[in-house]
């Protein structure tokens, strides 16, 4: 990465001439990225993949709010590539989605991204071409804010989670299409059947199995793709990424989940984590023992290790098939105990939207006051995964509802309140229902029953505030990512609802988010699980009627003619 003379100049000018000149000066950094074939060593296996500047993960790009960035991306691959700046607000031509924002970057070609940085916080970037992202094409972005941050910290680390698989993305997709359970090695076996008979009796066990068998679905279907090695900053559990601290320092950890398919439940035994930002936006601080980070989400937490000892950063995959491990230590080489993963969850009929179908579509703001008398029918035998407090963002009786390993506080979406709302709060002008649909057996994923290739673009009007109603009709959890505009997650906090770029929708639930349609052009909107997006849970969004749309249309026509 190189900074240009211009940036050096403006920095120099600034220090020499003092603050009076500041408003007329603009930071302008130039960054060079190469897209390369690389070797990825997870400590468990070594696999050829794709990286940036010769490495996967790629570099941490450090921008400043207000900076005008120029990023030269040179494609050294023998296939088309692209970079999407995940979570960044920018002109759509710079968004990096082939066929939507631009044609893509051909082999040997260098594409120059140029856009202003209008926000701050923790973000990331990745390829939006084929399966290059699961193959390793990702890096992180840290944007320094103009104003002082609303919290103190002495150290600052990016903690980027990924799920490196020994198979290439293409091969994984093909295997899933041949046999949807190809990678599910946590299916219920004959001995599970016998132990369930012992526990719940023969009748109940058989009925339960028949219910799932009747639907031809599996209670164990939580992670479509297993067999990966979780990495933190590119390092496997044995390679143990380590961040150094001095006792009593405040350490800011920027959690980023750049996995293809894997949600992580993250904890640091012995430390409380104070969540201060989500998806790059400050939230009102909330202190938790554990949090679940969905694919493509980011959380900033502050921890304050007081003792002169090592602490393990432990990220168990949601399906408990693997864990990521890193360490915070006063000195290099120190390690702490690696905790056991808590019990593997199983889906329940609630996750299928079966038992409590009447509750789908419920308003989350009123859920806390909900009458629980109607919940007697729920199957309590499957509730072991549930915390003491119900999380409004999981179906009642869900097998996926998380609980902190130490019995403490687990972060819920309901805890996320904006520190400083980006937009004036107002009523949405229109509601759009997006049913998240799919067929696990065929490994087809879709929105409103229609795959991307068969779908018309979703048209939004510039200036409107759209309320998206996500109804998850599948048994998978889908992290829905809208490019180019914020998704204000309805946690029932009105004007304090947090602005996010990725909204995780658990099975059997309905979740709302609102978007101020303030960015012209065409954008991608999709499930961020790589293989779901590729299978069809994807939409093109076209924003019409913006101030520049007339010229935009004519230029498009020009291209077509």
């Amino acid at each position: 990465m190189t900074k240009t003379l211009m940036r050096a100049l403006s920095l120099g000018l600034m220090t020499n001439m003092g603050a009076t000149l500041l408003p007329v000066l603009v930071y302008a950094g130039t960054y060079d990225l190469t897209v390369d074939k690389v070797l990825i060593d997870t400590g468990e296996f070594t696999k050829e993949g794709i990286g940036y500047n010769g490495k996967s993960p790629g570099p941490v790009l450090r921008f400043k709010e207000g900076e005008e960035v120029t990023i030269n991306v040179a494609n050294n691959l023998d296939e088309t590539t692209s970079i999407h700046w995940h979570g960044l607000i920018l002109p759509y031509q710079m968004d990096g989605v082939p066929k939507i924002s631009f044609p893509g970057i051909k082999p040997g070609e260098t594409f120059t991204y140029k856009f202003p940085i209008v926000q701050s916080g923790t973000h990331w970037f990745h390829s939006h071409s084929e399966f290059q992202e699961p193959d390793g094409a990702y890096g992180s972005i840290v944007i320094e804010p103009k104003k002082k941050e609303p919290f103190r910290f002495d150290r600052d680390y990016v903690v980027q989670f990924t799920d490196k698989h020994p198979h290439s993305g293409k091969r994984i997709m093909r295997n899933l299409k041949m046999a949807a359970d190809y990678y599910n090695r946590k299916q219920q076996t004959l001995s599970d059947f016998f132990s369930d008979v012992k526990k719940n009796g023969f009748g109940e066990t058989v009925t339960g199995r028949m219910d799932w068998g009747g639907m031809r679905m599996m209670a164990s279907d939580i992670e479509d793709v297993q067999g990966f090695t979780p990495l933190i900053n590119g390092m496997g559990p044995d390679q143990n990424w380590t961040g150094i601290f001095t006792p009593k320092e405040r350490v800011r950890l920027r959690f980023i989940n750049s996995s293809a398919m894997t949600y992580f439940d993250v904890r640091i035994p012995g430390l409380k984590m104070t969540v201060v930002a989500g998806d790059g936006n400050y939230v009102q601080p909330v202190t938790v023992d554990e949090l679940r980070i969905g694919v493509a989400e980011t959380y900033d937490v502050i921890v304050r290790p007081k003792e002169d000892k090592a602490y393990t950063i432990f990220g168990a995959s949601m399906g408990r098939t693997a864990y990521a491990r890193g360490t915070l230590a006063p000195r290099e080489g120190m390690v702490a105990a690696i905790p056991e993963m808590t019990e593997r969850p199983l889906l329940t009929m609630a996750d299928m939207g079966m038992d409590h179908g009447n509750m789908v579509g419920m308003d989350h703001s009123s859920m806390k006051k909900m009458d629980h008398s109607n919940m007697k029918g729920m199957d309590h035998s499957n509730m072991k995964g549930m915390g003491s407090e119900e999380d409004a963002f999981y179906a009642v009786g869900s097998g996926l509802a998380p609980a902190a390993a130490n019995g403490g506080k687990f972060l819920s979406y309901s805890d996320l309140k904006a520190q400083k709302p980006i937009y004036e709060h107002r009523k949405a002008t229109r509601e759009i229902e997006l049913r998240l649909t799919g067929n696990m057996e065929r490994y087809i994923w879709s929105i409103n029953g229609v795959k991307y290739e068969d779908a018309e673009p979703l048209k939004l009007q510039y200036g409107e505030r759209v309320r998206f109603k996500f109804v998850n009709e599948t048994m998978m959890t889908h992290p829905m990512h809208l490019h180019g505009m914020w998704s204000i997650l309805d946690v029932g906090a009105g004007k304090w609802n947090p602005a996010k770029h990725t909204i995780s929708v658990a099975p059997g639930t309905t979740v709302y988010s609102e978007t101020e349609v303030d960015a012209e052009g065409q954008w991608a909107f999709h499930c961020h699980l790589s293989y779901h997006a590729d299978a069809g849970m994807f939409r093109k969004v076209v924003v019409e009627g913006g101030p520049k749309s007339a010229s935009l249309n004519s230029s498009e026509e020009g291209v077509l003619q």
Partner: protein, 241 residues
């Protein structure tokens, strides 16, 4: 086999003509392909009979339309003859969440006379995870027949899998020339214990297979000095690519 090769280009053309219909807009439909060899085995029969048997299946296509080849055969190692040999090429499309229909042609070319058939089929996943594959055949001689295959997997562990299977062949009229009598003419039941050694790509197994011929078909077989029912011990492997 040469007939088969002549047929291939025609079917491929039909396939490429049909494929664009399935994708209206934005992105072209994703094309997938795969090869599975469910059975690839050595069979040792009660009376010292030795067979090599296989059952394979390959496809290419989209979610909406696939071209599927299915082939199976039984080769008698002692007499160096194919007891059965069949190749089928069909187009396959979903009709519901779990069921597909297919239509195409089948060609059987064991030792003795060969036959062409038009075929329609239904395959899919029945409730309780029972895999079903069935066909209705109309031969070039105007004879109608059908088959039905079923398979179920019992997970002893996530790698050690016991697979019971059953198949039935029915003919609605006899075709003496190829040794087929009318009615239920053969039943085969198998039980195979496999272990996934390399992903799901390579899974060796051992097992037993029971085969029984009925009615006129049995008579035809017995006339050739063979037994109408026989137990085999089998050893082989499953492949998936």
């Amino acid at each position: 086999m040469t007939h088969m090769l002549k047929l291939l280009p025609a079917t491929l053309t039909a396939f490429t003509l049909l494929a664009p219909v399935t994708s209206l807009a934005e992105d072209p439909a994703n094309i997938y392909y795969g090869l599975q060899i469910e059975e690839f085995e050595y069979r040792y029969g009660e009376g010292g009979e030795e067979l090599f048997a296989y059952d394979a299946d390959a496809f290419i296509g989209t979610d909406e339309l696939k071209l599927r080849w299915e082939g199976d055969g039984e080769y008698d190692i002692n007499v160096k003859k194919f007891e059965s040999l069949s190749n089928q090429l069909a187009l396959q499309t979903p009709i519901s969440d779990f069921w597909d229909i297919k239509g195409g042609v089948r060609y059987t070319s064991p030792e003795g006379p060969d036959r062409w058939y038009g075929v329609i089929g239904l395959s899919g996943l029945a409730p309780q995870w029972i895999e079903v594959d069935s066909h209705l055949f109309l031969s070039e001689k105007g004879k109608l027949s059908a088959d039905l295959d079923m398979e179920y997997q019992i997970l002893l562990s996530n790698y050690l899998i016991l697979t019971p299977s059953a198949s039935v062949d029915v003919a609605f009229s006899s075709d003496r020339e190829i040794g087929v009598g009318s009615g239920v003419n053969s039943v085969e039941a198998g039980l195979r214990l496999s272990y996934d050694v390399w992903d799901r790509a390579f899974s060796p197994y051992v097992g037993v297979v029971y085969e029984r011929k009925f009615g006129q078909t049995a008579n035809f077989i017995e006339a050739e000095g063979e037994s109408a029912d026989i137990w085999y011990a089998v050893i082989g492997a499953k492949f998936m690519f």
